[in-house]
Symmetry: C2
Subunit: 126 residues, 2 copies
Amino acid sequence: MRPGTPEQEWREDCAPRRVMELFTTKWTSMILHTLHARHDGAARHGVLHRSLPGISKKMLTQTLREMEESGLVSRHVEQVVPPAVEYRLTPLGERFVEPVELLYAWGRDNADALDALTPRATSRRG
Amino acid sequence: MRPGTPEQEWREDCAPRRVMELFTTKWTSMILHTLHARHDGAARHGVLHRSLPGISKKMLTQTLREMEESGLVSRHVEQVVPPAVEYRLTPLGERFVEPVELLYAWGRDNADALDALTPRATSRRG
DNA sequence: CCGTATCCCTTACGATACTG
DNA sequence: CAGTATCGTAAGGGATACGG
């Protein structure tokens, strides 16, 4: 940026800021990736639960509900006993998994940089 | 992922998960980008404050302190009156601005997808 | 200008127990 | 299996006033 550039970045409703804020929810991005990583783009509740060590059933359900409201995933209930519920990325979800995968790949390829970080930077919650 | 793939992703200390969790702090990524976007890679407190509409002085200072502890930024005090304090990306900060820029660019280029999202997805906090 | 110091409230999140 | 229902805590974060 040149010296004279106006300081008006990060308007509260600008697109980049909204993307960043998507990640302020702890589990959303990890759920998106997990669904994306599966061969059929879908996963049942239990599979997601086992894929995300540390998540409680409460948070998993709650986050999935929010993602459904947001249009990122769809929910399909199989009427059998015991019940089987499947979650699947929507087309919108497929769009949003793109930036998630960018971050995922960066993390995978830069573990050393992460190790150099003071612990507190990545352990605020959890 | 093939059907037989083990479900063991997202270990609690794996690199990708730690990257994701970096973004769970509201302002860190925006500060990183703002510093990166400036021609000299540095900015004073007041500049950052004006660049981030909505942030309080308290949160700005607090976040900068945490980033300093984490080794992402360095802090330089000019002993003048009124005081002038400058923040600058460290080499480690330069590394971490990479994924931030990836997200920033994605947001800039996909504003339409963001508009398609239900509002609540990006307005949990703030 | 660059902070600190309080005060206060909301929420995110986890633990646990219970249900069809 | 896939949820609800409660309860509880800690952290995030804003508002405001004051200080060097």
